[in-house]
Symmetry: C2
Subunit: 406 residues, 2 copies
């Protein structure tokens, strides 16, 4: 979500001292896999057909001989396939989870083969509403079908097939990335040895839907949005910036905002008595909005938030019962929530854990005491690093998978 | 804030059963008082001059002979002077706090003379950015000076002078109304016998500023806003609706939204797989946005939220100390917070109470256990009614003011 590959980490680093957790995985390359060519398009959950589909993905580490050391990292709303490393020797900005993914890090690329792909509907290399519709030769816009978290995972499964991956040691992700983690476990239970859903939920609350809806309304209120057909003209930048600002508030917490901004004024000793940004928090939000429009597509924001709102393990996999939904799962789970996350609060993680336990699943749960709200899952945390490292080691030990036999 | 005179109560009544708390005060009349004519304009906190100023106000009950039974009711962001009663015999919609203000109610109009005026900068009869600027003969727009909570209260003091009110038995209000309550106590300490700040704070947190700023950005992003000069053309309705939707979310709570909406779908058994309102919470927010634009002025939204963000008792009255700020006060206080209010959480009320107590003030504090978030202060609550009734009776008893000698 926030602070993913948009300089957010730079912002935060003004306030939180952290190292990057060790050395980098080095130079990585974005790759593309295209499948589902007509007339063999992918059938989506809605019943619509979509194809061809291109998936942008990156890998770090080396696949072992038994192909048993695969860790899939799932990104959140505005992330991409660039989880770790740099695109070139001169690149100064590492991937969005470089803090966690790399040699000797929590997800140790000396041991594991990490795959991260951009999600369906996004705008970072994978097919989304900004892609050309093969039928018209023009960008899809709103002709792009509404995709679901299930569709995203189904596309990732196709990528795995392409890469010859039959078993996944662990699938890990936070926020909307966590939805994909959960979906993987229920959709392809025999493939997934273990899963780490971070700062996530089995279904969006009314509150989370409400914030997404207001963000969407802000975009659709922008006349430049033009019913989604803006690719050859001015973009709905102002609407998208407002949507991003709303999102940013939900990624922080009352406490973290108080510590980070409080009522500090922006470059001034007094109020402007006009509608300039008087407070640092105003300036910060405006800045986040402005940066976001440079890198993200407004329609992708609409599609991905809609997929997030639709996600509902209870109904989609359990016929109205979360317990029944998790009866499909076979993975070992480590569920992690963050104390100040009010977008996906701990009680929602606990509800998941309860349903997993009722199915006799091997599940660990940890609420990390953190003041940074929903964002916390992306920030340096020795606790989270140790938890992930330890869990992966235990999974290797107990399943005999992921041996370092490269 | 929410549910003030915009049908919000009707919405809520679908979900919460409540009566109106007794009989109505009956037909009331909106009156107007104009003052600060050039060259004697009011000097605002910013140093700017404003005048003439018209204040729209309403009264209920009868002023007693000693003029000692005055209760001032302060409205919140989008409220008005119409606190109680009806405008005509055929009027079906009572004032926004009819539940609390009326014969035999919490603020008993058989005993007290209730005055409620529309705040400076608003659009419900009192001078604001939509008023004609006497210098140009056209609506002020952004030429309207940025006003503060202090300016609003100063204008109310002028109204009191006009009405011959020298002593106020109690000043009562929630949210931004609560800011005015606090400001009254520090600005005119000798006039105010008692005060009831409800669901409020002594200064906006970064979180509260952030939400206001995003609302303002939504308005200013609307091309129809036209830098505030839209009064003769199309209005920034879409931007204002988004701003209102953001506000509405902050007035509710995770819990109340879960109970009220959960993931209930709107008139459908399945998802639309497009960008219609699938969930009831989406439809509710859109509806609130649409209703709001019919009755509120976008520029007033900008000005009042800015005043709210600027409000800071600690710095404006205490030179950086909340304790020092309250050293000016002489009133008896009853501070009330609501357990699920995350916009002005209980810890902020407690901080106020602590500062009051350090000054030896007579202060009662109550956190009402309520699931309805910030909104709770406007909803029927036997607890709140009893608290207000009891507190006012005690103030009368202890001060000898407000005797029923009409």
């Amino acid at each position: 979500m926030i602070f993913i590959n948009d300089g957010g980490n730079e912002e935060m680093s003004e306030y939180i001292e952290h190292d990057t957790g060790g050395v980098s995985v080095g130079v990585v390359k974005k790759r593309y896999f295209t499948f589902a060519e007509p007339p063999h398009e992918m059938i989506l959950e809605s019943g619509a057909k979509l194809g061809p589909i291109t998936i942008a993905y990156e890998t770090c580490g080396t696949l072992n001989e038994s192909r048993s050391n695969v860790v899939i990292v799932e990104h959140a709303l505005t992330g991409d396939s660039h989880a770790a490393g740099y695109y070139s020797e001169n690149d100064t900005k590492p991937g969005w989870w470089d803090i966690m993914v790399g040699p000797g890090k929590g997800i140790d690329t000396d041991k594991y083969f990490v795959v991260c792909s951009n999600i369906l509907g996004s705008c970072m290399g994978t097919t989304g509403p900004g892609f050309n519709n093969p039928r018209t030769g023009k960008p899809y816009g709103l002709d792009f079908p509404v995709v679901t978290i299930g569709d995203m995972v189904k596309a990732q499964k196709a990528l795995c097939d392409h890469l010859g991956i039959e078993k996944i040691l662990s699938v890990i992700g936070g926020s909307i990335g966590g939805f994909q983690v959960l979906e993987w476990c229920l959709r392809y239970p025999d493939m997934v040895c273990s899963a780490i859903p971070l700062a996530t939920t089995a279904r969006h609350s009314a509150l989370a839907i409400a914030f997404n809806e207001v963000g969407r309304q802000a975009i659709m209120a922008d006349p430049n949005w033009a019913n989604g057909s803006y690719y050859s003209g001015p973009k709905p930048d102002l609407g998208l910036a407002v949507a991003r600002m709303i999102g940013h508030i939900t990624y922080l917490s009352d406490e973290s905002m108080r510590h980070k901004f409080g009522r500090k004024l922006q470059d001034k000793n007094d109020f402007s008595f006009n509608f300039d940004a008087d407070f640092q928090v105003e300036s910060y939000l405006r800045h986040q909005g402005e940066k976001f429009i440079e890198r993200f597509d407004a329609n992708s924001f609409l599609y991905i938030t809609k997929a997030a709102d639709y996600f509902d393990l209870k109904n989609q996999h359990g016929g109205g019962s979360t317990v029944r939904a998790f009866s499909k799962a076979k993975a070992k789970f480590m569920v992690v929530s963050f104390s100040s996350d009010w977008l996906y609060p701990t009680y929602q993680s606990k509800a998941m854990v309860k349903a997993m336990k009722k199915n006799g699943l091997d599940v660990s749960f940890c609420e990390i005491d953190a003041e940074w709200g929903h964002d916390a899952f992306l920030l340096k945390s020795d606790r989270l690093t140790a938890l992930i490292r330890g869990f992966l080691e235990r999974v290797c030990r107990e399943t005999g998978q992921g041996r370092h036999e490269i």
